[in-house]
């Protein structure tokens, strides 16, 4: 018989998107953006899903998360320290409260 591996012990967290009055459940192994897409919610704009384009820029108001590297053109160090992030690069580690729609092409820092 084939060995079966099932996804056990993957925790799921509630994500509240205050500016759009939406909430959804996001697994710990999915980014906030992909979790949102899978839930069918329309709470964050979807772009590249890879931390490059900036479309999914959010501000985290509450909650713990893990982050992967994201484009410095869209999240400066100062922004990173004040809770700005790209939703396609962070993974929830607790319940979260966020604000989406922070993408502004005018503020992109080009080299």
């Amino acid at each position: 018989m084939n060995t079966q591996t099932t996804a056990v012990d993957i925790r799921v967290h509630r994500v509240q998107v205050v500016n759009r009055n939406e909430e959804y459940q996001c697994r710990e192994d999915k980014t906030l953006l992909v979790g949102m897409e899978r839930s069918g919610a329309h709470a964050i704009d979807i772009g590249c899903r890879g931390g490059g384009c900036g479309i999914c820029k959010i501000r985290v108001l509450k909650g713990e998360y893990e982050r992967k590297r994201m484009s410095r053109a869209h999240i400066s160090e100062a922004e990173e320290n004040s809770g700005y992030a790209l939703a396609c690069r962070i993974f929830p580690r607790s319940e979260m409260v966020i604000e989406s729609d922070h993408y502004d092409p005018a503020t992109i820092q080009t080299k």
Binding site: G47, C48, R49, G51, I55, I108
Partner: protein, 307 residues
């Protein structure tokens, strides 16, 4: 008029994570990994390409394109065009031979759209990968993923594409193969060729300078494009749109993203261009159909999602 520029030579892309990038470009697209240089840049190529490499990946904290380069006939042409670029008013920088392993002297220059371009005459020729040059077999057996055959073109976004295109036409001898014209006579999209291909580089007007829309790789058949789409689903890769057909160039295509958010395309087919051909024109009121021939509508991402 032909000025001795032959074809696209290489593109250097910035990625956030090299390991993930290689899973995309090597394992999914099926490019051949050639080598890693002393700066940690990784060189790759499509299996049909004769020159040593055509894609260079550099790890950085901002994805996008560093530069794209075109190969010219010989060193005499290189010197001539270097002179003409200077006279035209470009900022020209000389990159010494060997700065990219196996590549000769490069001439780098800026452009109104904010992109950096290069021309070069010499690159080590290692031949097609996995097949000989005498009595060659049809294809090598050990290809991975989508089995991309070559780096074909890139689509770049920036301000004043007319300015960059004028330079490509007048100095480098590219032709406009296809164009989009709006009712004021402005051209928001221009597709250029330097040979017979439908495009060797394309430009779309956008206020932000120096942006990459996609880097594109050639496949032989529509069946290969569908197979690429299957792989994108199997690997849960970030899909943009497709498989579908473009109106512009009529290529059959699929767009998806690398793990750093740079858009990739694989495509097959498409129109051809000879120097005596008038540009093919799409009117801006049919832009949706020009870009996505079946949907006949742009998705939001096409105009806004860039690196």
């Amino acid at each position: 008029m032909k000025k001795g520029v032959m074809r696209p030579g290489h593109i250097q892309l910035r990625v956030l994570d090299m390991k993930e990038a290689l899973e995309h470009y090597r394992d999914l697209l099926g490019l051949i990994e050639v080598e890693t240089d002393s700066q940690g840049r990784v060189y790759l190529k499509g299996w049909t390409e004769v020159d040593k490499f055509s894609v260079v990946l550099r790890e950085a904290d901002e994805p996008g394109m560093d530069f794209v380069a075109y190969k010219v006939l010989n060193n005499q042409v290189l010197e001539q065009l270097e002179q003409e670029l200077k006279e035209y008013g470009c900022q020209v920088e000389e990159i010494p031979a060997g700065e990219l392993n196996g590549c000769g002297r490069r001439v780098r220059f800026d452009s109104p759209t904010g992109h950096m371009f290069e021309i070069f005459a010499e690159k080590e020729q290692t031949g097609k990968w996995g097949v000989k040059n005498v009595n060659p077999e049809a294809w090598p057996r050990d290809l991975k993923g989508m089995k991309a055959t070559r780096f074909d073109h890139c689509l770049l976004y920036g301000p004043n594409i007319e300015g960059t295109v004028k330079m490509f036409q007048e100095v480098l001898g590219f032709d406009i193969a296809e164009q989009v014209i709006d009712d004021e006579g402005k051209r928001p999209a221009l597709f250029l060729t330097v040979g017979m291909k439908a495009h060797d580089v394309a430009f779309i007007e956008c206020p932000e300078p120096g942006k990459l829309h996609h880097a594109s790789f050639f496949l032989d058949t529509w069946e290969d494009v569908l197979r690429a789409a299957d792989l994108i689903s199997m690997e849960d890769v970030s899909l943009d749109i497709g498989p579908t057909r473009h109106g512009l160039t009529h290529g059959k295509t699929i767009y998806f993203f690398d793990p750093s958010g740079n858009r990739s395309e694989v495509f097959c087919g498409g129109d051809y261009h000879y120097p005596d051909h008038e540009p093919v024109t799409w009117t801006a009121d049919e832009l949706g159909k020009a870009i996505f021939y079946h949907d006949r509508a742009l998705n939001d991402r096409f105009l806004t999602v860039l690196t």
